[in-house]
Structures are given as structure tokens and as C-alpha cells.
């Protein structure tokens, strides 16, 4: 029972890291970026290439996945995304879904269509029992990393100068510019951060979720659910939503394997009926 809860939390944490970048771009920058999963996939492939071709340790691959994806994100922001901030949501959706298909084909061409496998270091394999709860080491690792990231992210957005500049830039770009805040720099950095987090999630999840060129589409629906259920006004919302969905998904598949795959959608529908703007939303938006 508690093992299921533990697995669900690990899965939810992973979903959160994968999706929180999307909630930042969507919530704070008001940009519908369906290509978010492509960044996660990029992070996963960076890990696979570094580990399997160059034999680099898994622990170094995680920051590498973060920075490489963040760089890709920044480059794309400057060259492409920036032009679409003012465009309608439909244009943004069309643009980013096009990017998804390009990413899928590129991954298929360069890496092949098969599942990519990585071998985690020995200390992350297997599991141990703690008070009768079976705890998988790799899942515990995922939980610890994600929890630390969540706290750091929350502090960065609410307590630092960068965080308040970002919120100011989003709320009223013109006034923020007038106060000497470089809005475009802030947006590049934020976008890079969001992409980097997705990349990190992809790297962490490569072992648990698998990695193939269809990754961006396969998980797009999960990202969207996390963001819609959680609301886009803070990162606490998506965090709670991701945990809820992770636990519901895992528990549903355990207790009701026949209906397992649908539980997550049922939860989403219920939440949206009760709170149409998500669990935590700023009222009156």
C-alpha cells in the first residue's frame, strides 16, 4: 500500500519536473509551448549519448542535460519563440506542434526509432525495505532531486530579485522596461530555465519512462493535464497536481488494472468540474 504511494510520489515528482517548465512558459510568459516535450526528449538523448557513447557517469549527465537543453532553449527563444509572444494562441500552437514533429523526425533520423536504454550506476539499482515499504533506489533518487529543485524554484521565483523582475516583466512589460528591467533578457533566461528543467526531467526519467522519438507526443498529454489541473499562476499548483496525478495513476493501475489508464483523466475531469481554473488559480483572471 505504502509502496504504491511511494511509487506514485516518485512518478508525480518526475511529472512535475517535466511539466513545470511548461507551467512557467504558459503561466508566466503566456506562451503555449506544445514543444515542451521535445526539450525533455533532448535532455534524455543527451544523457543517452553521453553515457552510452562516451561512458560519462550518470551524475554528470544530469547537469549536462540541463545545460545543453537550456542552451537549445535559449537559442530557439532568441531565433524563433521571441517573434511569437504577441501572436495569437493558435499561431503559437501551430508553430510549436510543428516544432514537435521536426524534433521527432530529427530524433528518428539521428538516433533511430528504437527505445533507448541507459544503465544506471549500481547504487541506484534495486530496492530496500524500510518499515515494510519497498523503496526503489532510483525512485528515491528522483524524489530527492525533484524535491530539492522544487524548493529552490519556489524560492527563486518568490524571494529573489530575478523572480520579482520576472513577475514584473510578465504583469506589465512596458512599465517594467520603463523601470530599467531588461525584459527580453529575463524572458530568455526564464525560457532557458524551463527548457533546462524539462531536459533534466527527460534525463532523470530515461530509465523509468523510456525514451524514443515519440516521447514529446506520448507525454504531451500528461504535461497538459498537470498544467490544467494545477493552474498556471504559481508552481505550487502544478506541483500538487503532479503529485495527485502521479499517485492516482499508479494507484489506479494497481487496484483497477482494467480501468487503470483512464483514472488520470477521470481525476482531471473531476478537478476541472469543481475548479474550472485549476486547483490553485488567481481568481478573476
Amino acid at each position: 500500500m505504502l509502496t504504491i504511494l511511494f511509487d506514485g510520489v516518485a512518478y508525480g515528482m518526475l511529472l512535475f519536473i517535466l511539466a513545470c517548465g511548461l507551467s512557467i512558459t504558459l503561466g508566466l510568459m503566456n506562451f503555449v509551448n506544445l514543444a515542451h516535450g521535445a526539450f525533455a526528449m533532448a535532455g534524455g538523448y543527451v544523457t543517452v549519448i553521453l553515457m552510452n557513447r562516451f561512458g560519462i557517469s550518470f551524475y554528470w549527465c544530469l547537469p549536462a542535460a540541463f545545460f545543453v537543453t537550456a542552451l537549445i532553449g535559449a537559442a530557439l527563444e532568441v531565433t524563433l519563440y521571441r517573434r511569437l509572444y504577441r501572436a495569437s494562441h493558435l499561431d503559437q500552437v501551430l508553430f510549436s506542434i510543428g516544432l514537435v514533429f521536426m524534433a521527432i523526425s530529427a530524433a528518428d533520423y539521428f538516433m533511430g526509432g528504437q527505445q533507448q536504454l541507459i544503465n544506471l550506476p549500481a547504487e541506484l539499482r534495486g530496492r530496500f525495505d524500510l518499515f515494510g515499504i519497498g523503496i526503489g533506489r532510483s525512485r528515491l533518487f528522483v524524489i530527492v532531486i525533484c524535491a530539492m529543485l522544487t524548493v529552490a524554484l519556489q524560492l527563486a521565483l518568490t524571494r529573489t530579485r530575478f523572480g520579482s523582475q520576472l513577475r514584473a516583466a510578465v504583469d506589465d512589460g512596458r512599465v517594467a522596461r520603463g523601470l530599467g528591467i531588461s525584459v527580453s533578457t529575463i524572458f530568455v533566461l526564464t525560457f532557458a530555465l524551463g527548457s533546462g528543467l524539462a531536459g533534466l526531467g527527460g534525463a532523470l526519467g530515461a530509465d523509468m519512462l523510456g525514451l524514443d522519438p515519440n516521447f514529446p507526443l506520448k507525454f504531451l498529454i500528461y504535461f497538459m493535464i498537470v498544467v490544467t489541473v494545477g493552474g498556471t499562476s504559481s508552481i505550487t499548483g502544478p506541483f500538487v497536481a503532479a503529485l495527485l496525478l502521479g499517485v492516482a495513476d499508479v494507484a489506479g493501475k494497481y487496484y483497477l488494472p482494467q480501468a487503470g489508464a483512464f483514472i488520470i483523466y477521470a481525476v482531471m475531469i473531476l478537478v476541472l468540474i469543481v475548479r474550472p481554473n485549476g486547483l490553485f488559480s488567481r481568481e478573476g483572471r
Partner: protein, 389 residues
């Protein structure tokens, strides 16, 4: 990719040649090969193509006095494409035979085309029982339904694994295999503790594996598509099911030769039943594995052998008809054909046009630093349990 592009170019060149010199076409037999060369099932396509090419490299390109020409097309694993391509190949390219079909729905989609045009289609990969009844022009060289699952059931009971949980992916072949295993297992006196079905688009096996663990069976019988199989294996080991005394028995898809190296040591000791292993000890197999390794730079798996045997069947049928490419004559020539494949002795059942083959029980072991499915027990001449009673 490059080979495919070359291929298209040469196919186009030949198309033009045949316009210029119609007499040339009469000496050439074209075989349309439809495979998923891109998309999630691309590995199937690459393996089958490698098998087909290996056969031509080893046996030349003439059969029944005619030059054999392969026209390879990519359907990316979508059924409407497969059907369209099949139609084009039959109508425009005038192919005498079709070959390939990575998945059941892809094979199903061409049934009306081949029935109407009377063109034999050799299935190299798709396995569900239901396909064969859809057209009298289907022949199969991959596997007939749950052929590989039934001997595993018998083996399990004989070896004291009486309480088993089945875990299959929730789609056509999964249902076939589950039923095939369960029927035989119960007949032999085993008990199915629980039957778990995993969605096809499933990101995480954790809850299902935990369920298996809590049911405390002697063994878990697994069928999942090859690519996902490796992911499954890892989670199986990580969750400590092996330590809890639960044995993993499966069809050979889980320990696919092509992926076994990447799964690594967690796969050691897994028992599977299947029709082909790259470690099969025969001169035919050694030549085949070596050829695939040299030309395609990979280890041949059961998909490649399906392609290899499809080519053999096409060649042998052409030899029997003395190069006559009439569809009905070809399909009749194929019925009852027997030969020694790299996988061992096989034949085509004249009644069902389906493959009859030996199923081997294998264990994953390390040989020369690489992992192989080492065969240790053989069940002779297995038919599709659902059709050939």
C-alpha cells in the same frame, strides 16, 4: 537511410527502363517489400530488410530463371499507407508478390488488395491468428499466433511453476498470447493466479509489477512488444521480483536478440520460448548471422529471419513454377513447402498457409562476453493452436 534512397533511385530507374524496353520486364520478377522503415517500429523494418538482403547476398538474385528485384517502400507503421502502397505496387509496379507487414493491422489492411489482384503476400512479422483467414493469398514466415507461448506453458508446469500471473500488453497479439498460454497452462494443471493487461501506451510498469509481486506467484508470464520489453526487464529486476522468488518466463520478444546487449545483465537467466535465437547452432544460422552482421552491422533477430525465410519461400515458389508469376500458381507452390531455415526445420501448412515450426525454450546466458538466448529444449512442429486443432 542512404540505402533506402539509393533504392528508390534504382527503383525509379528500373521503372523507366521497363517503359523503354518492355521485353526486359518479362525476365524480371518484382517483389514489393512494405515495411515500417521510419517511426516507432523502424527496428522491425530494418531487421526484415537486413534478412531479405542477406538472403539475396547468399543466394544470388535469380530464381526460376528470372531476375528478382526488390521494391522497398516505407509505410511508417500506418495501415492506410500500407494499403495505398500495396495498391500502387500491384497496379503501377506490377509486382508479382508482396512481402513485409510489420504489425497485424498493416497486414489486415492489404487483404482486400491481394485477394482482388490475386497477388501472394508473405507476412514476415505480424503474428496474430486472425490475419490468415482474411485472404487466401496470405502466407506467413514469422510466427502463427501464440505459437511460442504454448510450449512455455507446458515447460512451466513440467518444471514446477504451478501458480503463474500473466502480464500482457493490451492489444491483439497480447490477447492471443494470453489465451494461448492460459489454455495450455490450465490443461496441463497449472493455476493462473491473475491476468494483468498493460495499456499499449504505458509509461511506467511500476504499479503492474507491484501487483504481480503482491500476488506471490511462482512465476510471471510476460508478453510485451520488443522495444518496451527491455524497459520492462529493468523494472522487473529493480523491483526485486527475482529476489522475491518470482521467475520470469516469457515469449522471445522480451529478450529480442537485437536489444539483449542493451538490456544487459538484468536479463541473465530469463527463460523464454521462441522460434529463433541468433545462437541457434547450425551452419545455416551461422552463415545468416554473419551475413547480417557484415552487411547491416547488427545482430540478426527473429524479424530478420522472418524476412530471410520469406525470400526463400519466394525463390522456391518461383523455382517450382519455372518462373511463372501467376499469383494462384505461386501460392499453390508455396503450400506445403518445407525447408531448413536458420531457425531450424520449418514448413508451410498447406491448409492454413501458416508456418509450422519448432519452438525452443531458451535461457539468457553470457557467451564470449555477449548475452545470448541459449536453446536447451525443443518442442517439435508447433502449429497455431487456435486454428490447427
Amino acid at each position: 537511410m542512404i540505402t533506402r534512397r539509393h533504392f528508390m533511385a534504382s527503383a525509379a530507374a528500373i521503372a523507366m527502363l521497363s517503359v523503354a524496353a518492355p521485353s526486359f520486364a518479362a525476365d524480371t520478377v518484382k517483389i514489393g517489400l512494405i515495411l515500417p522503415m521510419t517511426g516507432p517500429f523502424a527496428s522491425t523494418g530494418r531487421q526484415v530488410e537486413a534478412g531479405v538482403r542477406a538472403y539475396m547476398a547468399l543466394n544470388g538474385d535469380t530464381a526460376g530463371g528470372k531476375k528478382v528485384e526488390i521494391v522497398l517502400r516505407d509505410d511508417a507503421g500506418t495501415a492506410d499507407q500500407t494499403r495505398r502502397i500495396a495498391q500502387e505496387l500491384v497496379v503501377n509496379d506490377k509486382v508479382s508478390m508482396l512481402m513485409g507487414f510489420g504489425l497485424t493491422p498493416l497486414a489486415m489492411a492489404v487483404a482486400p488488395v491481394i485477394s482482388q489482384a490475386k497477388v501472394p503476400a508473405i507476412i514476415t512479422s505480424a503474428t496474430t491468428s486472425a490475419i490468415m483467414s482474411k485472404s487466401d493469398f496470405f502466407v506467413r514466415t514469422s510466427m502463427a499466433g501464440p505459437q511460442s507461448a504454448v510450449p512455455v506453458a507446458t515447460w512451466a508446469v513440467q518444471n514446477g511453476l504451478k501458480r503463474v500471473v500473466t502480464l500482457v500488453t493490451d492489444y491483439g497479439p497480447g490477447h492471443d498470447i494470453e489465451k494461448g498460454f492460459t489454455d495450455q497452462f490450465k490443461k496441463d494443471g497449472g493455476e493462473i493466479v491473475e491476468a494483468v493487461r498493460v495499456p499499449l501506451q504505458n509509461p511506467d510498469f511500476a504499479p503492474f509489477l507491484q501487483r504481480v509481486r503482491d500476488a506471490k506467484p511462482d512465476a510471471v508470464f510476460v508478453f510485451v512488444p520488443a522495444g518496451v520489453g527491455s524497459l520492462f526487464m529493468k523494472q522487473f529486476v529493480d523491483r526485486g521480483l527475482a529476489d522475491a522468488g518470482i521467475k520470469l518466463i516469457a515469449t522471445g520478444d522480451v529478450t529480442d536478440d537485437d536489444l539483449l546487449g542493451a538490456i544487459g545483465d538484468p536479463a541473465l537467466g530469463v527463460i523464454t520460448g521462441h522460434f529463433y535465437s541468433a545462437a541457434h547452432d547450425s551452419p545455416e544460422n551461422k552463415a545468416f548471422v554473419q551475413q547480417v552482421k557484415d552487411s547491416a552491422k547488427m545482430r540478426a533477430n527473429f524479424m530478420a529471419v522472418g524476412g530471410f525465410d520469406a525470400m526463400h519461400l519466394a525463390y522456391a515458389a518461383l523455382a517450382k513454377t519455372n518462373g511463372d508469376t501467376d499469383g494462384t500458381k505461386l501460392i499453390n507452390a508455396m503450400k506445403g513447402m518445407e525447408w531448413t531455415s536458420p531457425r531450424g526445420p520449418i514448413s508451410i501448412d498447406p491448409a492454413t498457409r501458416d508456418i509450422v515450426q519448432d519452438i525452443y525454450i531458451r535461457k539468457v546466458e553470457k557467451k564470449d562476453g555477449e548475452l545470448y538466448n541459449v536453446e536447451f529444449s525443443t518442442f517439435k512442429k508447433i502449429h497455431d493452436p487456435f486454428v490447427a486443432k
